[in-house]
């Protein structure tokens, strides 16, 4: 990796403003190092010697560069228990709220969209089995969806390498995976076959409606790729896909408030999430 780019406070502010306007991603000074690292990589890749030159290139409308930069911020190797503060929020706060309106024995539905190669929906399953005390009093249905059928096939196979498992303790790996060889582990069949995977395009209403309504949706780091129109459509589809009072978790740099007024902002101790109002907006 290259050295972090030299970005002045003013330049950082302009870049943060640009990224917020274009993508809805929010970067404060506290994320400066994280941002500078990725800017340096993109500057090297595009042969720009200074930040100001690179920023001019970025603003020139070279859409592919905006996408490359977004990718640098969001597409790291996905792995189990990524952003586990949201998983903690789910078990500690979101499901507590949902079970207030659902009697024991009822079904809690959770959707991971996009689910990529399955780390997120399987993480949700393992987290709940390990951390949610009411796990045996409710039926839990977890669905993983993605637009890419190749990743869905991989997700259904449930085979992962060391890096994907790096946040899991050896004990968890031993209990939920079986080794295929020294480098690969497969999710146990009981768990693997309990998660359903499906192909869904989030901006296709007919496709999202096929999945029914959920108590909690994880929709991280995808809306930022959409233009304003598609983002509005996706937000409305996600609204439709939530039960009244259901929650949606976005990526840590994303804000639903900027995309749609349909949702309520809910600040919990571990995460900020969004809720479909229980009643219609007054």
């Amino acid at each position: 990796m290259t050295e972090p780019a030299q970005v002045t406070k003013e330049e950082f502010r302009r870049l943060a403003e640009f990224l917020y306007r274009r993508t809805g991603m929010v970067f404060t000074e506290s994320k400066r190092y994280f941002v500078e690292r990725r800017i340096s990589d993109r500057m090297a890749a595009t042969w720009h010697a200074s930040f100001s030159e690179y920023f001019a290139h970025l603003r020139s409308g070279a859409q592919s560069e905006v996408e490359h930069l977004i990718n640098a911020f969001t597409i790291n190797e996905t792995y189990f228990y990524r952003e586990d503060h949201q998983l903690e929020c789910m078990s500690k706060d979101l499901l507590r709220e949902r079970t207030l309106v659902k009697p024991p024995g009822d079904t809690i539905r959770i959707w991971s969209a996009p689910c990529s190669t399955g780390e997120e929906p399987y993480s949700i399953a393992i987290w709940l089995l390990e951390n949610w005390r009411q796990v045996d009093t409710y039926n839990i249905e977890i669905v993983g969806s993605d637009i890419d059928t190749r990743v869905l096939k991989a997700a259904a196979e449930g085979i992962f390498g060391k890096r994907a498992l790096m946040r899991l303790s050896p004990d968890l790996v031993a209990r939920y995976f079986h080794p295929l060889d020294e480098e690969r582990w497969q999710i146990l069949d009981d768990l693997r076959l309990s998660v359903r995977f499906s192909r869904v395009n989030l901006i296709e209403t007919k496709e999202t409606r096929l999945e029914g309504r959920f108590d909690v949706i994880f929709c991280r780091n995808v809306l930022i790729y959409f233009d304003d129109e598609s983002r509005r459509v996706a937000a409305e589809n996600l609204y439709d896909s939530l039960l009244p009072g259901g929650y949606i978790c976005l990526g840590h740099t994303e804000s639903m408030s900027r995309i749609s007024p349909l949702f309520e902002v809910c600040r919990f101790s571990n995460a900020i999430v969004y809720r479909r109002p229980r009643e219609k907006i007054a």
Partner: protein, 203 residues
């Protein structure tokens, strides 16, 4: 293990046909009007239904769906249907209209020259914000014109704010000329100085 797996649910019957959607838009329950507003974007004469719904619908959630459908159709007529809300006394309606117009930048572009010459300075101010979503060259031209002739300092300040983000050092002379037109306005002078510092820092 408490995890269960189910089949995809049967989707609700799709709303089809102009008559059904028109009836639901006018007389349906909240949920029917919401579904109809969303489905109208797929109809050949969806614009007609949505324009009429814009006049009568008061539920913010359903108005949001109407605006999204107009953005999906995305013709200049769709943008035109939204424009009256830019003049609303209700700030939520103004904000919703602005968001919808941002979602159809090409359709909104057709109306920008007129909006930037609107007799109402509040409309001109909002129009400056819409310019932000236009291609850089077009945005620069539209805002340069505002800086050169608009008589309201607040409108010029809005143009300066957008130019500070989208422009380059080439707009510095425009900023200076604008500042000279409002020698007694400390806020505009401040905005121009900040923008000048930001733009001047570029190569």
């Amino acid at each position: 293990m408490p995890l269960i797996r189910s089949s995809p649910t049967k989707p609700p019957s799709p709303q089809e046909g102009t008559e059904t959607i028109e009836r639901d838009l006018e007389h349906g329950t909240d949920d029917q009007r919401w579904d109809a507003a969303r489905a109208a974007a797929q109809l050949p004469d969806g614009l007609r239904l949505l324009r009429r719904a814009m006049f009568v619908e008061r539920d913010p959630r359903i108005r949001e769906a109407i605006l999204t459908s107009l953005a999906r159709i995305g013709t200049p007529e769709c943008a035109e249907a939204v424009l009256p809300d830019l003049r609303s006394d209700d700030s939520r309606l103004r904000a919703a209209a602005l968001d919808a117009l941002r979602a159809m930048p090409a359709a909104a572009a057709v109306h920008l020259p007129a909006l930037l010459h609107d007799p109402d300075p509040d409309v001109r101010l909002l129009a400056c914000d819409l310019v932000r979503g236009q291609p850089a060259a077009a945005a620069g031209q539209l805002l340069a014109d505002v800086l050169a002739r608009d008589r309201e300092a607040n409108v010029c300040a809005a143009a300066v704010e957008v130019l500070a983000e989208t422009g380059g050092p080439n707009v510095l002379p425009l900023l200076e000329q604008c500042a000279a037109r409002f020698p007694g306005d400390p806020f505009l002078a401040f905005a121009i100085r900040v923008a000048g510092e930001r733009l001047g820092a570029q190569p």
